[in-house]
Symmetry: C2
Subunit: 103 residues, 2 copies
Amino acid sequence: MIEKTPEPPYYAVIFTSLKKDDSKAYAEMAEKMEKLAKEQPGYLGFESARQEIGISVSYWEDLESIKNWKENSEHLIAQELGKKEWYEKYSVRIAKVERDYHF
Amino acid sequence: MIEKTPEPPYYAVIFTSLKKDDSKAYAEMAEKMEKLAKEQPGYLGFESARQEIGISVSYWEDLESIKNWKENSEHLIAQELGKKEWYEKYSVRIAKVERDYHF
């Protein structure tokens, strides 16, 4: 789903990952985290696709919202499991959306 | 491929799209544009995945590089064909990467 986001500025967290493994546990955790993210203050949207690599982009009102989500206790557990079990490697980029346009 | 990008700040163009159609012409054009983008001044990297939606993120040194690429003549033709033939809808978000970390 392509998200409708408000007028810029807002923030994007670009998460690109290479997985080790395609476990059911991973799929369940990914779904759980997507639901949990939606409940956080400042959440604006989430877009995701995976082929060779996975790209997930979440949108947030401000840096404070991103920090709070990063430090969410259930999310911290998911992050640890991600490093130990699921991801070969990943990158996280925090970016301020300055302009957008839609077709 | 997960790209190695330099220390922030740099820019990301987040392109999310929903396709109408999975033509060979589209695949050829996408490949051509990816190659052409790599040759542009200020290009830093490109990451892409498609499932229900496609997400492509290209990385650039500055806004000037992004503007020049947007106005590249071959790229303009691709953009027109994209609107006419290939995309149901899309969003483009131009964002300044302020922080990143890698695992």
